[in-house]
């Protein structure tokens, strides 16, 4: 159950009421504009109350909101997107979409992790959890970007890589490890957009880049809150507590220097105004691509190396305090 959808219920009721009154106002002779204005003000207040300062757990659910724009909504807003399929070895993984398109006039390669809109679609997309062949398809497109000197733009939205028998048999670890390696050394600009859930190595596998953009209410974490709670306390039901402790919000990630840019979302989340969010995200992508275009391939790779090289929190002790 999505806590945001639950919170939204009175708001949705109110908005339905407003819409009904507006209709009446147009067709009837009675003037309802005063009532409408009052209700609109009430809705605004309610929105602010509910969404003004979402908790980490609420943000998790904003990131997972069933109406949140998905990778294909961003990719579909590009010009002339053509999908490229398959890993050339096992099968085409629907949890990863890849291809080429134009961002305004800029030719780019794109990779996105794709969730489903409804149950049927989610079964097809495996809830956005890629198998090894999905990462191998991604690697193929990463290499195309390098070969044809086109920037790569990725869209992260996954709870994590799929934990299953086939995924293990076909080398989920190797698939992610290899994706990381290709991205780390890729001689092409890489822009990363965290648009929904950024869960674990399955997200990072398309997440090493030169400019990391995150939507305000997206999350990015070492593991999904449920998985983290299960690993830490053997109790997935303590996910809310894990969400609070993991520091997975855009503000905190920006503070850590892991995210370079945060795209503000409308009050109540990206799904309140998807067109604006998609536009703002793609505009940010374009801005950073134009900046990165000035760098040589060597500069790009060196800069990327330094960017990740400095992430860590360690201190040098004076004495060995272990009981050796």
């Amino acid at each position: 159950m999505n806590v945001i959808v639950e919170l939204e219920k009175p708001l949705v009721e109110l908005e339905t009421k407003i819409a009904g009154l507006k209709k009446l106002n147009e067709t009837q002779r009675v003037d309802f504009s005063a009532e409408i204005a009052a209700l609109e003000e009430k809705a605004r207040q309610l929105k602010l109350e509910i969404f003004g300062n979402p908790t980490p757990w609420q943000r998790v659910h904003l990131a997972r909101h069933p109406k949140r724009p998905l990778a294909m909504d961003y990719i579909g807003a590009l010009d002339g997107f053509t999908e490229l399929h398959g890993d050339r070895s096992f099968r085409d993984d629907p949890a990863v979409v890849a291809g080429y398109a134009y961002l305004d006039e800029l030719p780019i390669f794109v990779i996105g992790e794709q969730k489903g809109r409804d149950t049927k679609d989610n079964l097809y997309r495996n809830f956005g959890m890629p198998h090894p062949e999905g990462y191998r398809k991604a690697q193929r497109v990463m290499r195309l970007a390098e070969k044809f000197e086109r920037p790569l733009v990725t869209f992260i939205d996954t709870p994590g890589a799929y934990p299953g028998i086939g995924a293990e048999e076909r080398g989920q670890s190797e698939a992610i490890a290899a994706s990381l390696k290709v991205l780390a050394g890729l001689r092409a600009p890489v822009i990363v957009n965290i648009t929904g859930e950024g869960g674990s190595g399955g997200a990072l596998a398309i997440g090493i880049g030169d400019h990391i953009i995150m939507l305000q209410h997206s999350i990015y974490s070492v593991a999904s809150p449920e998985a983290a709670a299960s690993i830490l306390w053997r109790d997935a039901s303590r996910a809310e507590e894990a969400a609070q402790r993991l520091r997975l919000t855009s503000d905190e990630l920006f503070e850590f220097g892991i995210v370079d840019e945060v795209i503000p979302e409308p009050l109540g989340g990206a799904h309140q105004d998807p067109q604006r969010v998609i536009h703002d995200t793609l505009a940010a992508d374009k801005r950073s691509l134009l900046k990165l275009a000035r760098l040589s391939q060597d500069e790009l790779v060196d800069r990327r190396y330094e960017k990740f090289r400095r992430i860590g929190a360690h201190v040098e002790l004076v004495h060995d305090t272990a009981a050796r």
Partner: protein, 282 residues
């Protein structure tokens, strides 16, 4: 009390842990083993051949020719999230230091293996489950960078539950950091050999663990991306026999070879000589 004979034990029942200061119970066959003998036999069960998990310093003693110059020995975590659950993360670390005799979950340094000068990094599962946080990521990266400077091969022996939850996304980023170092190192034409030991999962298998030019798995090691429990909970169906064992991975083409602990140093020595010796004798 004599150990329960094998035929009396319920099938599928796990042997009760009866380890103490002197004795160790084999988790595989239930044999009661005298610790001193067990240590002399490299922690391999004399009855069934089960490979016990090895402490990092024992592993180094096993592999290095007798020299080991440790790098960055005093690095400690900066606790980036100021994490605390049932106790502060700092206290958990202090406890692990007492138990393991190590400051962190990996020991890295330079040594020779069968006469080949090499960088060696060994993870220790007894420290926070061998999880990778800032310090593990930094030490592995420093080792790879030092070996790139000195043009030495790198051997990484993994034993890890993955990324360390208590360091959150900073821990996740260590996958990127170590990978970037491994990628640069590889581009110099230098060999990275990984030895996956019990257990190797999550963020460590999904980064440098599976980035080796040659990947060796130790006999019986559990290796995978997702832990068994997670897979069980997700798919709720019976897992195949030997699922995620070193032998299972060999069969599925995921590792180059499965090597017994007694053969490991020899196998590494031959491989390192082959990869680094001049091809044409002068």
């Amino acid at each position: 009390m004599a150990p329960t004979p094998n035929w009396l034990r319920r099938r599928g029942a796990k042997p009760e842990p009866q380890s103490d200061a002197l004795w160790e119970m084999c988790p595989s066959c239930g044999e009661r083993l005298y610790k001193k003998d067990l240590a002399e036999r490299l922690w391999i069960c004399s009855r069934c051949g089960h490979h016990f998990r090895l402490h990092a310093l024992d592993r180094i003693a096993l592999l290095a020719d007798g020299d080991f110059h440790e790098l960055a020995p005093l690095l400690a975590t900066g606790d980036p999230l100021a994490w605390s659950d049932r106790m502060p993360y700092a206290n958990k670390i202090a406890g692990d230091r007492q138990k393991s005799g190590l400051l962190e979950a990996v020991v890295v340094g330079l040594c020779t293996i069968e006469g080949v000068r090499t960088g060696l990094g060994v993870m220790d599962f007894f420290f926070r489950g061998g999880t990778m946080g800032s310090v593990v990521g930094e030490k592995v990266t420093l080792l790879i960078e030092e070996c790139a400077r000195q043009r030495l091969p790198v051997v990484l022996v993994t034993a890890s539950g993955g990324a360390r939850m208590e360091e959150g996304v900073i821990a996740l980023m260590q996958l990127a950091k170590t990978t970037a170092a491994a990628e640069r190192f590889s581009a110099l034409g230098l060999p990275l050999v990984t030895v996956l030991t019990d257990p190797t999962t999550g963020g460590v298998s999904a980064s440098f663990g599976f980035q080796g030019d040659v990947i060796i798995a130790e006999t019986g090691a559990a290796i995978g991306f997702a832990g068994r429990r997670v897979i069980d909970q997700t798919i709720r169906q019976k897992l195949p026999e030997g699922f995620q064992s070193a032998e299972f991975l060999l069969e599925h083409g995921q590792v180059d070879m499965v090597v017994r602990r007694t053969e490991l140093k020899g196998a590494l020595g031959r491989l390192l000589h082959f990869l680094t010796d001049k091809a044409v004798p002068a």
